[in-house]
Symmetry: C2
Subunit: 287 residues, 2 copies
């Protein structure tokens, strides 16, 4: 039985941590609610500095049996997976016995695209008595709200670029691709796939530096969850690095889906955007 | 009046030349048909080595009056525009008087996206008594035929990737984006926008080198014209550099639309692909 109101829960929360700063941000949010945090940083992905302030158990990808044992000892029911995790090659996995018994299932999910793998993994956790939550279930304050986040607002041309970018992301939705684009003056400058948002922004900066894009400034980064995406995993996120990347790329601003995007270090994001004259706006999804 | 059978024409052909080797390849094809070639290399874009063997008149982008005068002196009716041309910023144009009188029209096309600009420019040439042809109208032998070009053929998994890539390009079609993707094992690794195919392939090679893509080899580069694209301009093209890029990216092969893709130096393309074990295949468009 899965309850609908995790915010009323008080038990400990296991946080399975990939790379980046999000695991710590989520841990702090959970701790602020008075719940005990137990972190499971993934070897080779998680940054030790992001877990040292909380009880933690290092694990390798594939050690589900180890997780089961420790999480049960800790009395955990709610589990959150958060942080970047480049999907490891088979040879990089450390499979314990429990995981091996699950491999036929996992292999089936593995070849079905990112979404299938994650949804499948979620089902495995649930079959073992856990409840897999999204970071925003326990920490709704990390989601981008609707409207402008800082001092600056999109101009009319920016809004047109936002609409075009959102429509394009929607068209690309069924193909399970990284969901971000850069649109400038109605032209699509860059589309994100395996390289991720930061590298896509660096590419736009580089193309502009080399005169490969005719309009030297302006444009909007548009990010959105995939249509039908399981929002417990891998919600789009922005943070100070996104602002720096957008500024270097000469953009006017950033548009993300309100309620469907995580913001890391919102204060730093707003301060940096305001300083640079960049707008950051939470928008509704296309109707 | 515009005739339908340019192949039966015998008059001179003006070739307005952007960058790359295509202008020379087309010029040679035209010359083989016994027609006189008059080249108009664009300063800053065309490579002098590609025009020196034919009568040529250097011009700057925006010198339509100059083109009119010289082309009429040369008795030209048929015009081909070919070669890469990063769209210049307004300040990079050298506008003569004739072009200035056309600026309201050109500006209207300029902000409508690549296709609108090119189709509009084509209309301007036709309004002045020229006939704008595609390179393939005068040199159909430069188009990729249906089927495998070399010794290697796509495996079943490659065919699935080709189908997925083509469907994705079709979905992106209305957004006027560079039309190429890399799909590997059902995952979209890269999407081309302003950076062009060669740089997209270099990105895939780089992501693989850095372990950012879990499967280290395999995958297909799929290129297709935009749906509804005016095929007199800017057909997708492949050449020896495309093969080298695909090999460096660890791909299995390249799929392009038969009859809708130009191949530069087909012999070198086939030889390099065969050597590398890469397939190159002309496919029909999605039904």
């Amino acid at each position: 039985m899965i309850a609908d109101a995790p915010a009323t829960e008080t038990g400990p929360v296991a946080i399975i941590c990939g790379g980046g700063t999000f695991p710590l941000i989520v841990a702090d949010a959970v701790a602020r609610q008075g719940r005990r945090v137990v972190m499971f940083p993934l070897t080779g992905f998680a940054d030790p500095a992001t877990v040292e302030r909380y009880p933690h158990h290092w694990a390798k990808v594939g050690q589900f049996g180890y997780f089961l044992k420790v999480a049960r000892q800790e009395g955990v029911r709610d589990v959150i997976m958060i942080g970047s995790l480049v999907r490891p090659a088979i040879r990089q996995l450390a499979l314990d016995w429990k995981t091996l018994t699950l491999m036929p299932r996992i292999a089936r999910y593995y070849y079905g695209g990112d979404d299938h793998l994650l949804t499948g993994v979620g089902r495995i956790f649930e079959d073992h008595g856990f409840r897999l939550l999204g970071a925003h279930d326990v920490a709704p304050e990390i989601l981008v709200p609707e409207g402008a986040l800082g001092a600056h607002k999109p101009a009319e041309a920016d809004s047109a670029d936002m609409t075009r970018g959102l429509a394009l992301l929607h068209a690309m939705g069924p193909y399970d691709i990284g969901q971000a684009v850069v649109v400038s003056n109605n032209h699509v400058l860059a589309l994100e796939a395996a390289e991720g948002t930061d590298e896509m922004l660096a590419r736009v900066a580089d193309l502009r530096r080399r005169g490969r894009i005719r309009v030297q400034t302006g444009g909007v980064l548009v990010k959105a969850p995939k249509p039908g995406q399981d929002r417990r995993f891998d919600l789009p996120s922005i943070g100070p690095a996104t602002i720096a990347g957008a500024v270097a790329a000469g953009l006017s601003g950033i548009a993300v889906i309100a309620g469907g995007t995580i913001v890391a270090d919102a204060e730093a994001v707003v301060a940096a955007a305001d300083r640079a004259g960049l707008f950051v706006v939470g928008i509704r999804e296309a109707p």
